[in-house]
């Protein structure tokens, strides 16, 4: 049985949030989140820090929805950007029958397959939703922003975080799309009324 819990799992990379050598050679550090600033201050309280927004240039966009051939009443969910194990959402979406999901590249984890074997209903749901996924593949920036504009709702889940911000989430927000995010790291600092925050999801094997 796969369990998602609010707990820590061994993620050594996440423990090395900042490079010591970089801090040693810096007179000050400018970051994009209080999360990253806090990590610096805990490690090197003598180094001055400042937080500034990550800059995202606005682009003219147009929805690609017509290319999907969907009826107007279908609510489209999308995940955009570099899809990695840290944004491991297919299994979670197995329950979300009735929705479509776009993402940049195919990815499913072996643990997802194991979970499906143990929970046949989830396997059926996963098969259903995978059959309704449209994968755009990698696109140039203009195409990427267009596809970011296309979903009715954007999913931007991530764990772990090393203190990075998400340009994909910001681009989706800039186009006026509601975004569901993981409630940790930089995402937690987004105003509550501007995103939908969900608990961070960690698979305990």
């Amino acid at each position: 049985m796969t369990i998602f819990a609010l707990a820590r799992r061994p993620t050594p990379l996440a423990e090395v949030t900042l490079n010591d050598r970089l801090l040693d050679s810096s007179l000050g550090v400018i970051v994009h989140s209080a999360f990253a600033q806090r990590h610096i201050q805990e490690k090197r309280p003598d180094i001055p820090t400042a937080v500034i927004p990550q800059l995202i240039a606005p682009y003219a966009t147009h929805s690609r929805r017509a290319e999907l051939g969907l009826s107007d009443d279908v609510v489209l969910f999308g995940s955009v950007g570099q899809i990695t194990a840290a944004s491991d959402t297919p299994e979670l979406l197995a329950n979300a029958a009735g929705s479509c999901w776009i993402r940049g590249s195919p990815h499913t984890s072996s643990s997802s397959a194991r979970s499906c074997r143990r929970r046949p209903w989830k396997r059926r749901s996963l098969i259903w939703i995978w059959s309704h996924i449209t994968r755009t593949g990698y696109r140039n920036l203009a195409g990427f922003v267009d596809w970011t504009t296309t979903p009715d709702v954007v999913l931007n889940l991530r764990y772990p975080t090393l203190g990075e911000t998400s340009a994909s989430a910001l681009r989706a927000m800039a186009t006026g799309r509601p975004v569901i995010v993981s409630d940790h790291g930089w995402y937690s600092e987004l105003p509550d009324e501007a995103v939908v925050k969900r608990c961070r999801l960690i698979r305990m094997k």
Partner: protein
């Protein structure tokens, strides 16, 4: 159980937004407003 509750919260969030277009619009509007703080042109004007 945390597993189910977490999955449900994500599913609930998706269904909630799917069923309520006004909520999608309100959150999207707020998101756009927040993203304006990340617009280089707007920041340049402040400088």
């Amino acid at each position: 159980m945390p597993a189910d509750s977490d999955e449900v919260t994500l599913l609930e969030a998706m269904l909630d937004l799917a069923r309520h277009p006004a909520k999608r619009e309100a959150i999207g509007r707020a998101a756009h407003y927040v993203a304006e703080y990340c617009n280089p042109d707007a920041v340049a004007e402040l400088c």
